[in-house]
């Protein structure tokens, strides 16, 4: 059933809010506010009781599918289980109630947490320093590329205006390059799904600012030539940026810093089990090698050791070469608390096991599906893999249909139509927190759907059948956008 909008509930004059009566003398707002700045018509906000409110959003939540609802193998997004103890930790008033400008002596726990988290991330990624300011992966990319830009500018190499991006890259990579004033140059992939070294060799040069690379890449493949790739770029005078979206495959096994990357961003909301929140908040810390530390956004958290007072943590705002702030205050601190708790709970062995099992799960699922679906790159994968659907050659049923039909079986569909270099791509990332039974069940559903595609294709092309709404008219939504509710007068 369609749910009413919150605006369509309630009744004029109703309110859920029990605000206190003023305990100070009140002057009429009309006398305090400049004439031209008074609001004449009140905003049309809902007028509902608290019960209306609670039922409305509880009902809405029931229309959603989350990791807590079921299997969510969304490639490139690392939808692993979000431990509840981390949520509890992040709700402690000692964290939620901090004002960013309150005196540092009152925020020692928070600063210590940030200081340590920075070092943990440095160890995991093989980097020297991290900024925790970026609020998301794309924000981290922007920060990282601006750092690279500042480095070249300082060296007087302003002619470096191109960023090399493989054709399998996330769309954020070229979009970020453009936001930094860079031109994107696409590098071809080779037949094994890695970067084409000849093409890279040809393209890297005196105008190369950087290469942006995801490794393992969006095909779920670890590029075995990674050292040659970063070497080629370095020899040309460029820097190597690692999009760390796929770090869940490699924790404790191999580090971007050891692959030759100079800059990396990590997605705390992917790799470090903080929830995605229906689209955010995330956190995208950026790590750099020593020589780029001067360019990091400020402030950084530092520690001073004093024999009497012991360790004191403080915010260091100095840094003349810094690219400046990328966000007000210090980043999405609440997300950092959860990631910190996750790392502390797992420790080195736990993180390594997480990555190993993420890779095992992906390879296992791939094996279960290889008979039924085309594997465009048939080799050992890392934490995810890409299928190009249906061996049977059934053309009527497209990837979109398979995805929609999976919902009827109770699964969230994988990422579809990405990466762009695989036709009709289906990108599957099971994560380590799923059991063998769950993977077996999912593989069975995908095989069953493949049979349906042959025997009764309309069941698949007409899917989903069991969801709160059927396929929605996206064309009309985009042609005649209705982006807000307006009360009928």
């Amino acid at each position: 059933m369609t749910k009413p909008l919150i605006f369509e509930l309630g009744s004029p004059g109703r309110t859920a809010a029990g605000l206190p009566e003023p305990d100070v003398p009140v002057t009429k707002p009309e006398e305090l506010l400049p004439f031209g700045m008074r609001r004449e018509r009140q905003a049309e906000l809902p007028e509902v009781s608290e019960v209306d409110l609670v039922r409305h959003y509880t009902r809405l939540s029931s229309l959603n599918y989350g990791v807590d609802t079921g299997f969510y193998p969304l490639g490139s997004c690392t939808m692993k289980y979000n431990p509840k103890v981390n949520e509890a930790a992040a709700s402690l008033p000692g964290f939620t109630g901090l004002h960013p400008y309150q005196p540092e002596e009152l925020s020692q726990g928070a600063l210590k947490l940030m200081y340590r988290l920075e070092r943990y991330l440095g160890e995991i990624a093989g980097m020297d320093r991290f900024t925790l300011q970026p609020a998301a992966g794309a924000h981290g990319e922007l920060t990282g590329l601006l750092i690279i830009r500042a480095y070249h500018v300082q060296n007087g190499e302003t002619q470096r205006n191109k960023v090399l991006v493989p054709d399998s890259a996330h769309g954020t990579n070229p979009a970020t390059a453009a936001m930094c004033g860079y031109e994107t140059v696409q590098v071809k992939s080779n037949s094994r799904g890695g970067v084409d070294l000849d093409d890279l060799w040809r393209l890297a040069g005196a105008d190369t600012a950087a290469i942006m690379l995801t490794n393992p890449n969006t095909l779920g493949i670890f590029d075995e030539n990674i050292k040659q790739i970063t070497d080629i770029v370095h020899e040309a005078g460029g820097l190597a940026y690692c999009d760390g979206a796929n770090t869940n495959a490699i924790m404790g096994k191999v580090r971007p810093g050891d692959m030759g990357f100079d800059v990396v961003h990590l997605n705390l909301h992917k790799t470090f089990a903080t929830p995605h929140g229906g689209g955010g908040p995330g956190s995208g810390p950026v790590g750099v090698k020593d020589f780029l530390t001067p360019f990091l956004p400020r402030p950084l958290v530092e520690c001073r050791v004093d024999e009497e007072a012991g360790k004191t943590y403080y915010l260091d705002h100095r840094g003349g070469q810094s690219i400046g702030r990328v966000k007000a205050f210090y980043g999405n601190f609440g997300v950092m608390v959860k990631a910190y708790a996750y790392i502390r709970m797992l420790g080195a062995a736990g993180l390594t096991e997480a990555s190993e099992h993420a890779v095992l799960n992906a390879n296992y699922l791939k094996e279960k599906l290889r008979e039924t679906y085309v594997l465009p790159y048939d080799r050992t994968c890392m934490h995810e893999f890409v299928l190009s659907p249906l061996k049977s050659g059934e053309r009527k049923v497209r990837t979109l249909d398979l995805a929609k039909r999976l919902m009827d079986y109770g699964y969230h569909p994988p990422t579809i139509y990405f990466p762009l270099i695989v036709e009709e791509a289906l990108m599957i990332e099971p994560t380590e927190t799923e059991s063998k039974e769950t993977l077996d069940g999912f593989a069975a559903a995908l095989r069953q759907i493949a049979r349906e595609a042959l025997e009764q294709p309309e069941t698949v092309t007409g899917a989903p059948h069991r969801t709160p709404v059927k396929r929605l008219d996206e064309v009309t939504a985009a042609r005649k956008p209705v982006l807000r509710y307006q009360r009928q007068s």
Partner: protein, 130 residues
């Protein structure tokens, strides 16, 4: 796929119709609209803008894709099809008629001669789908 005889065509799938006064009308071909799928928005140039041959002058959006249209011949925009702002579906429904994009005053009236004629374009399409 319709390929009207009276038009000239570019490799980027634009068509050109020369009018009596020498100005030309430009649109995208039936093949192009079909490949794009449902067009949801057309971003037109401003009247008076000038473009060289091969320059992008207009953007078409479908739900999940964006395509640029490239000038089949250099010139100045003298009119744009404003009805597309409210009804982008006209490009799908009638690409050679009501779905036209712009009118152009050519820098060189002879330039369209270099474009493909209908038979050549039909052959070109056939080579693409082979």
């Amino acid at each position: 796929m319709q390929v009207p005889d009276d038009l000239k065509y570019s490799k980027e799938h634009e068509w050109v119709r020369t009018k009596a006064d020498g100005a030309v009308t430009v649109g995208i071909t039936d093949y192009a609209q079909d490949a794009m799928g449902d067009i949801v928005f057309v971003e037109l140039p401003r009247i008076g803008d000038s473009f060289a041959a091969g320059e992008p002058f207009c953007t078409l959006e479908s739900v999940k894709a964006v395509s640029e249209c490239y000038m089949p011949a250099g010139g100045k925009i003298t009119a744009v099809n404003e009805s597309l702002l409210d009804s982008p579906e006209l490009v799908n429904q009638d690409p050679y008629g009501a779905g036209w994009l712009v009118e152009v005053e050519l820098d060189d009236a002879a330039e369209p001669a270099a474009l493909m004629i209908a038979a050549e374009y039909a052959q070109y399409l056939a080579s693409l789908t082979e």
